[in-house]
Amino acid sequence: MQVASATCHSVMHINVLDQFHNGDSPIHRLDPRVKLLGALAFILTAALTPDGAWLAFVALAVLWLALVLMADVPPGLLLRRGLVALPFAAAAVTVLFTLPGQALLTVHVPVFGWQLTISNAGVVRFVTIMLKSGVSVLMATLLAATTTFPDLLRAMRGIGIPKVLVGTIGFMYRYIFVLVDEVQTMLRARDARSAAGPAGQRAGGTVFWRARIVGGMVGSLFVRSLARSERVYQAMASRGYAGELRWLDKPKVKSMDIVWLAVMVLVLLMIQLWARLVA
């Protein structure tokens, strides 16, 4: 119900997510391809870090914080956005009990008469997974917060993603705001027509009935979207579109960008070697 209660007027706008994109900092000025590759290298480093190399994760977190401070983006905002990976921890909880190792604690589950043993190795693996996930998500939020969407598209082209796919994602980004607006309108209409009973009393029909209503909404959204795509295509064709999206400028990689990427990769390599050999 968050969706329905959120707004009573259309506020979807293409720039709604771009609050920090127009900042001017060394990070903002980096070539988008360098930013994308750097973020990917960072996340790969986190994925390759062995269990229990705590200092390596501290080093990755410090590197992230240094970049955030350089970019002049509030770290709290990024941390809040980074919480998205947290619910997934439920999937990893099982390693606490299933990895063989020195037993730390035994939990009795009264319902089934089970007895779950938390192992030493299990705790190390679980905390490692959460740290890996944490630093990776934070890096991805930093990338998203300091790169405008057209720049991200350009970076995707730059690392070899096909034009068709990049063009599709570009169009999609333009139209999600329009279509989410339509979804909100439909959800508001649904809520306006279905009065909720007093608290504790069930409102609406059966689950089947509700799903049929939502299915009908999804279906009619599809029909509208299809019609819209045809109008969009005709409008584009009449303005000279011939199947290919063109960018005006061909961005050149500056030497400064290459230095940045080299330093980033070097630091990450050192962290990785350190994690494997020393820590």
Binding site: V16, A91, V95, G113, S133, V137, Y175, Q184, L226
Partner: protein
């Protein structure tokens, strides 16, 4: 607040968007390679089919799937049913364009909303694009003659359940969770969640069928032949057998066996079914489970081969009949 509207978990917890850190690097990279291979074919085929209309059409339809994922409906106990859309896209657009659309949706969710990781994006496209699209497509193809509503429901339900099963396998292979537990949990939860997906898919198809009969007929029913139906039927059967087999490979038989070994049958109350014996090769991947997995894979391949053989034989016979008819 807008931010939370635009990201899909606002509707419900999305357990299929794997964040970075939960997959090991080899699993994530392998998934990327498989996904890239599929995407190359998808881009080529879709470009040929739709020509210069491709980008606007796919872009707006990807936005449609993204927006449709914001639809929710209350189920029970404060949880909401949510919508993934892979099966619906496959039935409405055909599998290759649908794959393109789903990849665009997942790519944007990962890049902008951190819904699913970047290194894990290959795996996410594999699960929510490739697996849901092909499952949905084949299920619908195989069942639509019997009843279109049933076919739509089965396509949605199976696509979500199978996606959950594949996710569980990837997590187990990465050493993030033990296979028995995560498989039972993921498949169990998504067998319920899948009901919502199936109902919405069937209802949406019914509306589109009523509103756009021409377009719908061309896309799905026009190109169908007996051979593909049989092939699709074979794959579907294999998938169903696979899911059932996976359930028989759940931890409980293993756990019970261990109980029997350790304590004798009667004193089972003290046993620890989730404890892994030291002789297991991978965390949670027991020998029995591994055997079941290999059996499923072989069974699927075998059924595909048999289906293909039957299809070839039928086609040759119908060709001979047609030639004879011409003479």
């Amino acid at each position: 607040m807008l931010y939370s509207i635009l990201r899909s978990p606002a509707a419900a917890p999305q357990q299929l968007h794997i964040p970075d850190g939960f997959l090991s690097a080899p699993v994530a990279i392998l998934a990327w390679l498989v996904t890239i291979a599929f995407m190359v074919v998808a881009v080529r085929r879709a470009s040929r089919e739709f020509d210069e209309r491709l980008v606007p059409l796919m872009g707006v339809l990807a936005a449609f799937i993204f927006a449709a994922q914001a639809f929710n409906f209350p189920v029970a106990g404060g949880t909401s049913g949510h919508f993934l859309g892979g099966a619906l896209a496959a039935i409405l657009l055909g599998p290759w364009p649908a794959l393109l659309v789903m990849a665009a949706v997942i790519g944007l969710q990962g890049l902008i909303f951190q819904d699913g990781g970047l290194l894990a994006m290959g795996a996410n496209i594999f699960v929510m694009g490739i697996v849901t699209v092909w499952t949905g497509y084949f299920a619908y193809q195989a069942l639509q003659r019997i009843n279109r509503h049933v076919a739509g429901f089965a396509a949605g339900w199976l696509s979500v359940v199978l996606a959950a099963v594949v996710t569980a396998f990837m997590l187990a292979l990465s050493g993030t969770a033990s296979l028995g537990v995560v498989l039972t949990a993921m498949a169990g939860v998504h067998m319920l969640i899948g009901v919502g997906e199936g109902l919405i898919t069937a209802a949406a198809l019914a509306l589109v069928r009523a509103a756009l009969p021409g377009m719908f007929g061309e896309q799905v029913t026009g190109r169908r032949s007996d051979a593909t139906t049989i092939l699709a039927g074979g794959v579907m059967l294999a998938l169903v057998v696979g899911i059932v087999a996976v359930f028989f490979a759940s931890p409980h038989p293993d756990g019970l066996e261990r109980v029997a070994e350790d304590t004798g049958f009667l004193s089972s109350a003290q046993a620890a079914p989730f404890q892994i014996a030291p002789d297991y090769v991978l965390p949670g991947l027991t020998n029995q489970t591994l055997a079941a997995v290999i059996a499923i894979a072989l069974g699927t391949l075998l059924l595909c081969a048999v289906g293909y053989g039957i299809a070839r034989a039928l086609r040759r016979r119908s060709q001979r009949l047609a030639e004879a008819h011409e003479q």
